[in-house]
């Protein structure tokens, strides 16, 4: 039963991940990426890592995907149906993928995974909290510093952007109206 569910979730992950790569519209690629995040969350639940699964949905599906979509909305528009980047020769990509797969598979094979026959506790969030407050207190506080750096860095970059006064929605509409009016005036 578990194997069947795993195969179902894994094929969802692989299918949506492939669609991320082959989607021509960048917004569609982003939406498929959200589907991938969600399926990975289901995989965590299957591993009985409930808290990680919920955190995956909360942070990746809820927050990171919003950042990605906003980043797409903020970028200057490209011509429709034209990919935002030019892909190199396909054999470079293939070599890269095979190399990465080889590294990952050998690494996973080399790690001495610890197996246990004991029943796992249903909820491990309390253990996680205790570990954060004891063994991992310093990394935990460093995480706060990393988040602070990210926030301040984004403010600095965004304020710089704002000073250059990028056109907004209202400006764009005004410009389009102006262009349309001028075109109408030109024809008698």
């Amino acid at each position: 039963m578990v194997t069947v569910i795993f195969i179902a979730i894994a094929s969802l992950i692989i299918a949506s991940a492939v669609l991320v790569v082959i989607s021509r519209e960048i917004v569609r690629a982003a939406l498929w990426l959200i589907a991938t995040f969600f399926a990975v969350g289901a995989l965590y639940l299957l591993l009985e890592a409930e808290f990680i699964g919920v955190a995956q949905v909360l942070v990746y599906v809820g927050a990171v995907s919003i950042l990605i979509l906003f980043a797409i909305m903020l970028t200057r528009q490209h011509e429709r149906h034209e990919p935002a980047w030019r892909a190199g020769p396909w054999w470079i990509a293939l070599a890269g993928v095979i190399g990465l797969a080889a590294v990952l598979i050998t690494t996973i094979g080399a790690v001495p995974w610890r197996l246990t026959d004991d029943d796992l506790p249903v909820s491990r969030a309390p253990q996680l909290g205790t570990a954060l407050m004891r063994e991992y207190l310093l990394p935990f506080q460093l995480a706060a510093i990393v988040l602070l750096v990210a926030l301040i860095g984004a403010v600095v970059i965004a304020m710089e952007e704002r000073r250059r006064r990028t056109p907004t929605l209202a400006d764009d509409i005004a410009a389009q109206r102006g262009a349309a009016d001028r075109a109408e005036d030109g024809t008698p």
Binding site: M1, V2, I5, L45, E48, F51, A55, L58, V59, G62, A63, V64, I66, L67, F70, A71, M73, L74, T75, R76, Q77, V122, S123, A125, P126, Q127, L128, G129, T130, L132, M133, L137, F140, Q141, A143, A144, I145, L147, L148, A150, L151, I152, A154, V155, A158, M159, E161, R162, T166, P167, T168, L169, D172, I173, Q176, R177, A180
Partner: protein, 118 residues
Amino acid sequence: MLDAYAFIGVFFIAALVFPLVPLIAAWRLRPQRSTPIKRDTYECGLEVTGGTRVQFKVQYYMYALAFVIFDVEVVFLYPWAVAYGQLGLFALVAMSVFIIILVFGLVYEWKKGALEWA
């Protein structure tokens, strides 16, 4: 564990099927006659002008980023809150330091005027 999620799985499948059934039914039942006017983008009944893609204000991104930062904070708060009974005063101090560091970022953003909608 799996049994508990089987129930959620049933809801998930129902949530997928529920919108799909009317969509497929509508697609099967409707007449398939397409005209240029029918395929036109709907824009409050007016004639469509300009492209659909416009650049959004950078403020949206600032709010989204602040949201992500404090969303991650919530992920840390949850295991802390659940384990708090076993940890005591030290944990309160440790979490306060964590939150104060992040609040400093919020104050910085606020003072810089990044949250202003001008």
